[in-house]
């Protein structure tokens, strides 16, 4: 009203500026791609794509995404970004935007490659590690008058032009809590295929991912397995699902195994041949196995005695090797309460025996173990070598790329981390200054470095993995996140992008990722204004 009065007084219209300038800058957590960093500008429904055309250069492209972004996730290969948005809700006009999924690629240049309009808002998104499928699903944030919590949409990433495939996950009483994908499994009856494993409160449902399957058939071919009763007489909750392909040599059918929460049992789900009259690719015959204690994790491994399901029981401490064919458990006493396991066969195997080598770690004791499963049942030590590290391990990170295949990064509980050389059986501590640092790598490992930073600190570090030489670096503004990306100019270089964010400001410090030097940087600010002004 006052404005109109003023305008009347001035006898001429005042005009106004685009609302974008009044919109606060509220970004979501940045997402790193192979050659770009993407920051979601949620209030303006756009993606700020930062690329580095050349050394110390930063280019900003702005791409439209849907309104009210709820999730942005990169594909595992770093080539695509998936942005899920809720659109305008409730929709009152035909022009109000629908919920949508926007697919962005950055190679050779940032662009929107596909947009899918959805009928209803979805907040859940998970992308297959093999870049073949993505799943959109309902979460608790998507409450509406009537919600189908089991409704999901499958997106075949190899066929972006194909509409999302609607599937209602079969369930007796639960709703999807977690999704995982198997690799291609040889089916007892029919074509080899992948399965989507949907974990619910007390059930596991298997959804057929054969691309050629029709929508109706995909829905009706689902298999739902109710979890067994626990000691309290209630259906157990799945905590982890692992899988193994069929092994013709041992007569093993494709297998899934489910670790149950708070239960000493593990559920084996062999996929056996169905009855002769059935056209289904498999039938599930569940079996329960008591591994002697609550398992912290499970993994299928190849031992000298064949394929086994390894279950770590830190409370004993022991590892149970379950024969999926017979359900028999061989309990192996462990020297330490190992709680985590990762297969490092590809990195360390020197023979063609086909048996696995596993890395064991503990979140309570400063010891790791290397387990040669080829000696699991024959050697007195069961093939386990232990190695002292400086702290109990919170997590183990793989070093991407091919430059350091035998290296792992152990994140300590105390904030320190260790570079573990599996081959040399040596761990090198990287002592931090007491804070808990986040570690990041180049997605393809080409920079041969890892980056350690603590949010809101100005100092950060880069460690050259070959020499283990840490380089102390300084940014002139508190660090929000650090990304190591490939330069898009084609010269093959790499750029480290250190993001800074405060209120409505977004900036970046750019430095060379291969030879980082605080004295050789460039600082870019005002990135939140990208695309708002005109030349």
């Amino acid at each position: 009203m006052n404005k109109h009065w003023l305008c009347s007084l001035l006898l001429l219209g005042c005009g106004s500026r685009p609302e974008a300038w009044d919109a606060p800058f509220t970004p979501t957590a940045p997402v790193g791609l192979d050659n770009a960093v993407v920051v979601m500008d949620t209030t303006l429904a756009r993606a700020l794509v930062l690329t580095s055309p050349g050394a110390l250069e930063l280019r900003e492209d702005v791409l439209p995404v849907g309104q009210h972004v709820v999730k942005a996730q990169a594909s595992p290969d770093g080539k695509r970004l998936f942005v899920l948005s809720r659109g305008v809700w409730p929709r009152r006009n035909a022009s109000d935007e629908h919920p949508r999924l926007t697919v962005i690629e950055t190679d050779p240049a940032p662009r929107v490659v596909k947009t899918y309009e959805l009928d209803d808002p979805l907040s859940g998104l998970v992308v297959d590690s093999e870049n073949e499928w993505a799943v959109l699903y309902v979460t608790s944030e998507d409450s509406r008058t009537v919600t189908n919590p089991n409704e999901i949409f499958l997106l075949h990433l190899s066929e972006l032009d194909r509409d999302p495939i609607p599937v209602t996950v079969q369930s007796l009483a639960g709703s999807p809590q977690s999704f995982s994908f198997t690799s291609t499994l040889d089916m007892p009856n029919g074509e080899a295929r992948r399965l989507l494993v949907v974990e619910m409160q007390s059930e596991v449902t298997l959804v057929d991912l054969l691309p050629s399957l029709g929508n109706v058939e995909r829905t009706t071919s689902q298999v739902t397995i109710q979890m067994s009763l626990n000691q309290q007489g209630q259906n157990a909750t799945p905590a982890e699902v692992v899988f193994h392909d069929a092994d013709a040599a041992s007569g093993l059918d494709p297998q899934l195994a489910v670790r149950l929460q708070g239960d000493t049992n593990v559920m084996l789900l062999p996929l056996v041949a169905p009855s002769s009259s059935s056209t289904r690719p498999f039938s599930v015959v569940p079996n329960l196995v008591d591994v002697g204690g609550q398992a912290s994790t499970i993994r299928f491994v190849n031992t000298d005695d064949g394929v086994r399901l390894a279950a770590l029981v830190p409370s004993k401490p022991s590892a149970g090797l379950v024969d999926p064919n017979t359900g028999n458990v061989t309990s192996i006493t462990l020297a330490k309460p190992f709680s985590g396991i990762a297969l490092v066969t590809a990195e360390l195997a020197t023979d063609a025996s086909g048996t696995d080598i596993a890395l064991l770690w503990s979140n309570t004791t400063p010891t790791i173990g290397l387990w040669d499963l080829g000696k699991a049942t024959t050697a007195a030590t069961h093939g386990i070598d232990t190695l002292q590290v400086g702290a109990s391990v919170r997590d183990v990170l793989n070093v991407p790329g091919d430059a350091f295949p035998t290296s792992k990064i152990l994140e300590g509980q105390s904030g320190d981390f260790y570079v573990l050389d599996l081959k040399a059986r040596r761990s090198s501590p990287m002592v931090t200054n007491g804070r808990t640092y986040q570690l990041t790598f180049a997605p393809d490992g080409q920079s041969r470095r890892l980056w350690a930073f603590a949010p809101s600190e100005e100092d950060f570090s880069s460690v050259e993995l070959g020499t283990l030489n840490p380089t102390e670096l300084h940014a002139d503004s508190p660090v929000w996140n650090v990304f190591d990306i490939a330069q898009s100019g084609g010269a093959g270089g790499r750029t480290a992008v250190v993001l800074h964010h405060s209120g409505g400001a977004l900036g970046a410090t750019v430095l060379d990722a291969v030879a980082p030097d605080s004295a050789n940087t460039r600082f870019y600010s005002g990135l939140a204004y990208g695309g708002l002004s005109h030349e």
Binding site: N2, G15, A505, G507, S525, E535
Partner: protein, 303 residues
């Protein structure tokens, strides 16, 4: 700049201008009224025709035979009325009916200029398109012929706006210096229309306050600017007599289009702030062209 700020600035400018104009008006009016009666102590020997000529500018001066001094009636100048009860409308001098200083004069003026900048480069600095400015001008009518006259002026406009851009504070100050050529046509001695061309230069100083960049960043530039306007002025104070050298008061109103060359908005740090990141790249927000329609209201004193 938001509405409140714009109105405040306008109000301040208006108040300042009004105050100055009022002061000028008062000064001029008072001067006109308080001017002492010329030669009241001695009988005047001026021919009566002068007074008559002054009082009736439309009446051709009558020629009256001048009586001989011996036979001339004794004319005794009437002393002025006592100051206790002055006659307010009694002209001091009779109107000579000439354009005189109504047309040819020096001029000094101040006013308020309202610019309407529709260029997108202005958006970061203001929530609307209005750029109010204080305006001052000075000049001289150089040529007059009949009702036409030509004046040369120098004008100076200054104004600033503030806003926030996505939560960060911004400001823009614009100064314009122009030399104007103004053509006038007096419909009446106290009223004329004019057209003005005023090329000159425009200085814009933009500031962006980015905490990540260590504080304020500036983008300053000089550009070529030109105003084209049409207006009118009316004399509200001053003697009717054209020959009068006494100040006259005018109120003018003009409007037109102010064009300025576009300048790049590239914000840089001054470098003096210790918080400024090293090798800070300028923030480029495109171009700014302070151009658009405007109107100006001003008060002028002419001599």
């Amino acid at each position: 700049m938001n509405d409140f700020e714009a109105r405040s600035l306008l109000a301040r400018s208006a108040r300042s201008s009004a105050f100055v104009l009022s002061a000028a008006f008062s000064t001029i009016s008072g001067y006109a009224r308080a001017a002492p009666a010329p030669a009241t102590s001695a009988p005047t020997e001026e021919p009566a025709t002068n007074a008559n000529a002054v009082s009736s500018p439309a009446t051709p001066p009558s020629v009256t035979a001048v009586p001989s001094p011996a036979t001339a009636p004794t004319v005794t100048a009437q002393p002025a009325h006592p100051a206790k009860h002055p006659l307010p409308d009694e002209p001091l001098h009779p109107d000579d009916g000439r354009m005189g200083t109504h047309q040819e004069h020096w001029l000094f003026g101040i006013g308020l200029r309202e610019n309407f900048v529709a260029h997108s480069g202005f958006d970061p600095f203001s929530t609307n398109n209005v750029l109010p400015q204080f305006s001052a001008d000075a000049g001289r009518v150089l040529f007059a012929s009949g009702q036409l006259s030509f004046a040369a002026l120098a004008l100076f406009d200054y104004g600033s706006v503030k806003a926030s851009a996505r939560g960060l504070n911004t400001s823009l100050s614009v100064s314009r210096v122009t030399a104007a050529a103004e053509g006038r046509y007096h419909f009446w001695r106290r009223f004329y229309l004019f057209g003005r061309v005023a090329p000159g230069a425009l200085y814009s100083g933009a500031t962006l306050s980015d905490p990540i960049a260590g504080g304020d960043q500036h983008s300053n530039s000089w550009t070529f600017a030109t105003d084209l306007s049409l207006g009118a002025a009316v004399e509200f104070a001053g003697e009717a007599r054209g020959a009068s050298n006494r100040p006259r008061g005018w109120i003018g109103l003009d409007g037109g289009y102010g064009w300025a060359q576009a300048s790049k908005l590239a914000f840089k740090s001054s470098g003096s702030d210790a918080n400024t990141p090293a090798r800070l790249e300028p923030v480029e927000l495109g171009e700014l062209a302070v151009r658009g329609g405007f109107f100006r209201i001003n008060g002028t004193i002419t001599f």
